[in-house]
């Protein structure tokens, strides 16, 4: 564990920037998001949870896969420096790990390695994630529902705790240990620091609301598929994609060609969501998820049922972004409660 005094944090970030592309929370216009750092002084170390989720660092809203002209296919030039993410909260670090289950290969079941996504892997595999522990979780936070908590370090390479005086860096993965081990000129964390960490951790955990029991939700949801509970839940949903686009784990996409048809252009991958009718519309004009409640149900089924069957985890980390942006205040926690308390 190393200790970086607050006054020296810019210096530390600068050392990271020497060899890597560093992403950190920043205010862009009216919204906060993870942006490439140009000047460490511009980093806001106190941003609670960015308005836009960090998934866009590795899985951009719109990503050019390749360009083409006639028969010729051109690879797109990219920033090849490995990525460092600074200031990621625990929920978001876990989100990236969940996305890696989908796009990466390390998590695939043995013998099934066909789903590697090169665009994700070339960015994520070499990335180092500095996660900042949450000292003051908010009322929209519910990471503890998923067995996590404000000081959870899953998905992080280095866990960072802000002790008011200093940032304490605790390497938690092999990659993190190697990286921190290679650094020179930084003090070791003191006993006092460790005591402070314990205290802030307990305080943060005390601020979390009570966790709701989610055991068996996958089966429960599957049983309720045709039940009227979805009419009740879906009644007020206006079927926009705000929840999915700010979600740190939603990862559906569409692939399109832009440019002159068949001649010159680029193939792009763009975020898409099951909340949009076009997502499932078939060429015949038939739409198997025709009504808005069908689409809403799909989003929750994916998070709490299908993903569990595929990867043994919930596709939600309790970051609370959707809770605060939903225009009709359709709270994901209420959806879970409604499902868990209704009769199959």
């Amino acid at each position: 564990m190393i200790r970086i005094e607050k006054e020296r944090i810019d210096e530390f970030i600068r050392t990271l920037m020497e060899t890597r592309a560093v992403y950190a929370p920043a205010l862009d216009g009216k919204n906060t998001m993870f942006a490439p750092v140009e000047d460490p002084a511009g980093i806001d170390h106190n941003i609670f949870n960015t308005d836009k989720s960090p998934k866009e660092i590795f899985f951009p809203h719109s990503e050019v896969l390749f360009e083409y002209e006639g028969e010729e296919i051109k690879k797109v030039e990219r920033d090849v420096r490995p990525i460092v993410v600074w200031g990621l909260r625990g929920c978001d670090a876990r989100s990236l790990r969940l996305l890696d289950k989908v796009f990466g290969s390390a998590w695939q079941k043995p013998g099934n390695d066909m789903f590697e996504d090169p665009y994700w892997k070339e960015k994520y595999d070499d990335a180092i994630i500095f996660g900042t522990a949450c000292n003051e979780p908010r009322s929209t936070c519910f990471c503890n529902w998923f067995g996590s908590g404000p000081h959870d370090d899953a998905g992080m390479d280095v866990k960072v705790v802000d002790t008011e005086e200093a940032f304490i860096l605790d390497p938690v993965s092999e990659k993190g240990k190697k990286f921190i081990g290679s650094l020179k000129g930084w003090a070791e964390a003191t006993k006092k620091d460790l005591a402070t960490i314990k205290a802030v951790r307990e305080k943060a955990e005390g601020l979390m609301g009570e966790a709701f029991g989610m055991e068996g939700i996958a089966e429960k949801m599957a049983d309720l598929f045709f039940k009227p509970v979805w009419d009740d839940i879906g009644a007020k949903c206006v079927n926009c994609g705000a929840c999915a686009f700010i979600c740190s784990t939603c990862h559906c996409f569409d692939v399109q060609d832009e440019g002159k048809k068949g001649k010159k252009g680029k193939r792009i991958r763009i975020w898409d969501t099951c909340m949009f009718p076009l997502f499932t519309k078939e060429a015949s004009g038939h739409n198997p998820r025709d009504m808005s409640k069908d689409r809403l149900r799909q989003r929750f089924m994916h998070k709490f049922s299908y993903f569990i069957s595929n990867y043994d985890e919930h596709l939600c980390t309790g970051c609370g972004r959707c809770v605060s942006v939903c225009p009709v205040n359709l709270d994901i926690r209420d959806v879970v409660r409604a499902v868990m308390t209704s009769e199959a």
């Binding site: 216009g29 009216k30 809203h61 009322s139 009644a235 206006v238 926009c240 999915a244 942006v325 225009p327």
Partner: protein, 320 residues
């Protein structure tokens, strides 16, 4: 609040309506959420205050437009702007006036939560109360009270029709509309900038758009079966958040609701990226008012401006 609940209860028990759409307390401080009340017992959850930000008329026209087509008699709680949406939808034959019971509530403006959090430097608000004139917020180590007028949405600041223009019942006394002489000051200010500056500002504002279409989906006037952005054969515009595609989406959406937008501001409040969407809507509304003398949704006998014309009309924009 009590009167509203009692009114709804008696409407339901007397069988005058089968369902009432209203608001109940939301899951966050300062939030409300739409609620569908079909029994008198449920009516006790109804509220009306500055947190009731949605325009509930939207529920008559989304894919639940069957709500409007059913034989069900539906009651809906409305602010001034929401009632104008209903009037528009009635004139456009989307809602049958006979089947809807309009319950007006006195509106003093609805909250812009960004303004509220701005007042407390972005600190987390854990408790919120509103007495109709002043709002009080409490957090971990603070408590602050300020006039409601300072934290209402921009659309409410210039609103001159706060109470339902068309209603069957009104909770309290409906106020007469004011004068809209100064309603478009912001638009006029923007018009004074030069063309390049205007584009630069638009580009900056709209580059934040994530194309989630929350603005469109909360809008009671946006009810096309298939929106032009969802058409893929031909596909009119690109789906990525590039500024040109984003701007075209917003310009065309504004033209589609030209003479149909009631400037309720639901779009702006729904925007997760906090884009000042209403500026364009207001520009269009101002043109519609000044050129065609039409204010949307103010009378059941009025035709929507863009579905109407006069033979001798100002055509100063056409080459002489």
């Amino acid at each position: 609040m009590k009167e509203l609940r009692e009114t709804v209860k008696s409407l339901l028990t007397e069988g005058k309506v089968d369902l009432v759409i209203g608001w109940e307390k939301g899951t966050m401080p300062g939030a409300s959420t739409p609620v569908f009340i079909d029994t008198a017992e449920k009516a006790d959850s109804l509220i009306f205050d500055s947190t009731c930000r949605n325009n509930l008329s939207v529920y008559f026209t989304k894919d639940r437009r069957e709500l409007a087509k059913d034989d069900k008699k539906i009651g809906v709680v409305v602010k001034g702007c929401d009632s104008r949406s209903l009037v528009l939808n009635i004139t456009e034959k989307q809602i049958d006036r006979e089947k809807v019971t309009i319950i007006g509530v006195p509106c003093n403006g609805v909250l812009d939560m960004k303004k509220v959090t701005g007042k407390v430097d972005g600190k987390e608000i854990l408790e919120f109360t509103d007495d109709g004139e002043r709002v009080t917020v409490k957090g971990r180590e603070f408590e602050q009270t300020f006039p409601l007028d300072e934290v209402i949405s921009d659309s409410c600041v210039t609103c001159v029709r706060r109470d339902a223009v068309e209603h069957d019942l009104f909770i309290g006394e409906a106020r007469e509309p004011g004068s809209d002489e100064n309603a478009y000051v912001e638009v006029e200010e923007f018009e004074k900038l030069d063309s390049g500056e205007r584009w630069a500002r638009m580009e900056q504002e709209y580059s934040a758009c994530i194309r989630c279409y929350a603005c469109r989906n909360v809008c009671p006037s946006c009810y096309c079966n298939v929106c032009f952005v969802d058409q893929n054969d031909p596909q009119w515009i690109g789906k990525s958040p590039e500024i040109t595609d984003t701007m075209i989406f917003h310009i065309i959406r504004n033209l589609h609701v030209a003479g149909r937008c009631v400037e309720c501001g639901a779009c702006e409040r729904a925007c997760p990226m906090d884009i000042k969407l209403l500026l364009l809507n207001r520009k269009v509304a101002k043109e519609v008012r000044d050129r065609f003398g039409s204010v949307t949704g103010t009378g059941l006998e009025n035709k929507p401006a863009m579905a109407d014309f006069k033979e001798d009309e100002n055509q100063d924009f056409i080459m002489g």
